[in-house]
């Protein structure tokens, strides 16, 4: 707890906390606008600005240096955006190329200026250097106040103009038809993005900045179904990553016996924490995560298998009893899997397996099987009669469709072909009598 109050550590902790929230909020908006690479480019565009700020600070001693540097970085970020737009629109250059060019040009200019600054003032050259990779450990109380004000401004702006931003990103044509100024919203987004970048570069550096813009959005995207929630979750992810990252960095920084010090830089640790989090979200998020999607896909596959088993028992035995061995012989799947499915089917009350190797359908199982076969054959009728597909080709499609029909689709299918009695292969369609 003392970390939060200690004057040496509270700067980095609160500074990076505020910075992450700010980046997460504006990151969500550019993420949804599908222009995250603009963030990457603009953060590089700030570098020559920082170096120029270094010149100014070196020249006029005693300025409030963080404010000067931030202001220069901010102006260059906006300048970078206008350069980008100029190349894209007037030069008719592909957006990707324009982004690459602007990024490389800015960084090149920055490095060139930095070498000049080295000759002018080595002290400021070193300070400016730290903006490339970030140096969260040297954040001070001044930074906390400055970042606090800027972050509050960004969040407040998004809250006040929320509905306008939402509609402008979601449905541009509609927004423009109801009088939302798209260009104004776009300019505002870039303004917010630039503020977040200048708040962030001191902490995580010009090069890693875009990670902090994107990672929280990736996590939040997986778990939210409205823009408000997405922004909230992104801010949460950003804030927690910052706290965890700085915590880990300080905890593992140790002094060696020789007097040398190993210190983990908090900036990269924060980025790594946030990235790890987004990887986990991609895999484990409840509805969109890969793991659960795999789970649902496997469950569906198994359901198809069981329904196919019921169907073959129905075909072999009808109302009577048949040998389990014969049923299993019709299926090419692994024996153990089939046994497992049979066990589950009998446990769920669809079939009865007697001790003598015989198997029969329960009343419910019989109805279910008839229903499946009925849907299969009706679908075939539909394909042949209504879509003109050849009768030879319809079986495969029906094999699939019989398992996926929702009640609504079923109703629609019945409205087309509900009174057919035979399928295109002349097999009768069962279950004509209805549910009972």
């Amino acid at each position: 707890m003392s970390m939060f109050f200690d004057s040496a550590t509270r700067g980095p902790i609160f500074g990076s906390f505020l910075m992450c929230i700010c980046a997460a909020v504006s990151g969500v908006l550019v993420f949804l606008r599908k222009r995250t690479l603009v963030g990457e480019t603009l953060s590089h565009a700030t570098y020559p600005g920082i170096v120029l700020g270094g010149f100014v600070c070196a020249f006029f001693d005693g300025l409030v240096s963080p404010v000067v540097l931030l202001l220069c970085a901010f102006l260059f970020s906006l300048g970078g955006y206008y350069l980008l737009r100029l190349i894209e629109e007037k030069g008719k250059v592909d957006p990707d190329n324009a982004l690459c060019f602007t990024l490389a040009f800015s960084l090149g200019l920055g490095v060139l200026l930095a070498s000049q600054l080295q000759a002018e003032s080595p002290l400021w050259a070193r300070r400016v250097q730290s903006y490339l990779y970030g140096q969260a450990v040297t954040l001070t109380d001044t930074h906390i106040y400055l970042y606090g004000i800027l972050t509050a401004a960004v969040v407040l702006f998004v809250v006040i103009r929320f509905r306008e931003i939402e509609v402008a990103i979601f449905d541009r044509v509609f927004a423009s038809s109801v009088g939302v100024k798209l260009k104004g919203v776009e300019a505002a987004l870039m303004f917010l993005l630039s503020i977040s970048i200048v708040v962030g570069i001191r902490c995580v550096g010009v090069i890693l900045m875009s990670g902090m813009l994107i990672a929280p959005s990736i996590v939040a995207r997986q778990v939210s179904r409205s823009l408000g929630k997405m922004i909230f979750f992104a801010a949460l992810v950003g804030g927690v990553s910052a706290a965890l990252g700085t915590g880990i960095a300080f905890y593992y920084s140790t002094s060696l016996e020789s007097g040398a010090k190993i210190s983990l830089p908090p900036g990269p640790v924060i980025i790594l924490v946030a990235s790890l989090w987004s990887v986990l979200a991609v895999f484990f998020a409840p509805s969109r995560g890969l793991v659960f999607r795999l789970y649902r896909s496997v469950t569906f596959h198994l359901r198809c298998q069981s329904e196919n088993l019921i169907k073959s028992i129905w075909k072999k035995a009808g109302n009577g009893v048949t040998r389990l061995k014969d049923v299993l012989a019709c299926h090419s799947q692994q024996k153990w899997l089939l046994r497992l499915l049979i066990w589950k089917l009998s446990r769920d009350g669809w079939i009865i397996v007697d001790g003598l190797g015989g198997v029969s359908l329960t009343r419910d199982g019989f109805a279910k099987a008839e229903h499946i076969v009925r849907m299969h054959r009706l679908w075939e009728v539909y394909l042949v009669n209504h879509l003109g597909v050849s009768a030879k080709k319809v079986h495969r499609s029906a094999e699939e469709i019989e398992h996926i029909l929702s009640p609504e689709l079923e109703k629609e299918l019945l409205s087309f072909v509900g009174n057919s009695t035979h399928d295109p292969h002349e097999s009768p369609i069962p279950g004509q009598g209805g549910v009972l």
């Binding site: 949804l32 006040i160 103009r161 509905r163 306008e164 939402e166 509609v167 990103i169 979601f170 449905d171 541009r172 044509v173 509609f174 423009s176 038809s177 109801v178 009088g179 939302v180 995207r221 939210s224 179904r225 409205s226 823009l227 929630k229 997405m230 209504h386 879509l387 003109g388 629609e412 087309f416």
Partner: protein, 255 residues
């Protein structure tokens, strides 16, 4: 005062002319279809009218005034594929956008607006999905949601771009019934449409377009073989046959 009047409109993208000197007008309280082959400039006509793209010359007046003066009286439904359906927004929020458009986006919506949104969603058969994210809707539901949003704008003129594209039969029915209801209330509706055969049944007035205006008037007067030949050129035979067949299939008529 004509709710929708196009005056000598010419639109060009880059160097290509997409619309050439188009003029027509629409009577109040009518349901009008703008019809033509792909690339005939139907959507362009709407976008240029609403100031989304800039016409080279000419323009459109709404109730005798330019669009920016009568925005609140007009509701525009874009094409479904114009938006990203993975966007994190719920069905209810999209419906509410209609009310925001009317009130201004800075103002909080009132309880009455929310109640109206729910009622309209209910009317369009979407109440049970109002909490869902929009990516979970079917094509027909998406289109009905767009219409819900438009209804909530409480406009006098409705302009819809391809509302029946990729939509199931039940949704098409629901949408056309709603449009006819609006007509009964004296509203004017302009629809960009691609199916020639439902045109007869749906519209009071048809505007046949292929870069320039071919003809406008009642469907029976406009959709003559000569006019269709001029609008669709050599494609018309195949297109006609195919769409007649599709229509017959849908209605279960023996061919």
């Amino acid at each position: 005062m004509k709710p929708f009047e196009v005056h000598n409109m010419t639109v060009a993208y880059e160097d290509e002319t997409v619309l050439w000197d188009v003029s027509f007008s629409v009577e109040p309280g009518s349901l009008v279809g703008i019809i033509g082959p792909n690339g005939a400039g139907k959507s362009t006509l709407l976008k240029a009218s609403l100031g989304i793209t800039r016409p080279l010359s000419g323009g459109t007046t709404f109730f005798g005034k330019p669009f920016s003066k009568v925005r609140r009286q007009i509701s525009y439904v874009p094409q479904r594929r114009d938006v990203d359906w993975n966007f994190p927004v719920t069905v209810f929020d999209v419906a509410l956008m209609g009310r925001h458009a009317r009130r201004g986006f800075f103002k909080w919506v009132k309880k009455a607006d929310k109640a109206a949104a729910l009622r309209t969603l209910e009317h369009m058969g979407l109440a049970h999905v109002s909490d869902r994210q929009i990516s979970q809707l079917s094509g027909g539901q998406q289109q009905r949601l767009f219409l819900t949003r438009a209804l909530l704008q409480d406009a006098d003129l409705f302009i819809l771009d391809e509302p029946f594209a990729g939509v199931d039969i039940a949704s098409e029915r629901a949408i056309i019934d709603t449009l006819k209801e609006l007509k009964e209330q004296g509203k004017t509706i302009v629809v960009v449409h691609h199916d020639l055969h439902s045109a007869n049944e749906y519209f009071d007035q048809v505007v046949l377009l292929n870069a320039s205006l071919i003809a406008t008037g009642t469907p029976t007067d406009v959709l003559t073989p000569e006019n269709l030949q001029r609008a669709y050129g050599a494609q018309v035979t195949l297109f006609e046959q195919a769409s007649r067949r599709a229509h017959a299939k849908k209605m279960g008529i023996e061919i």
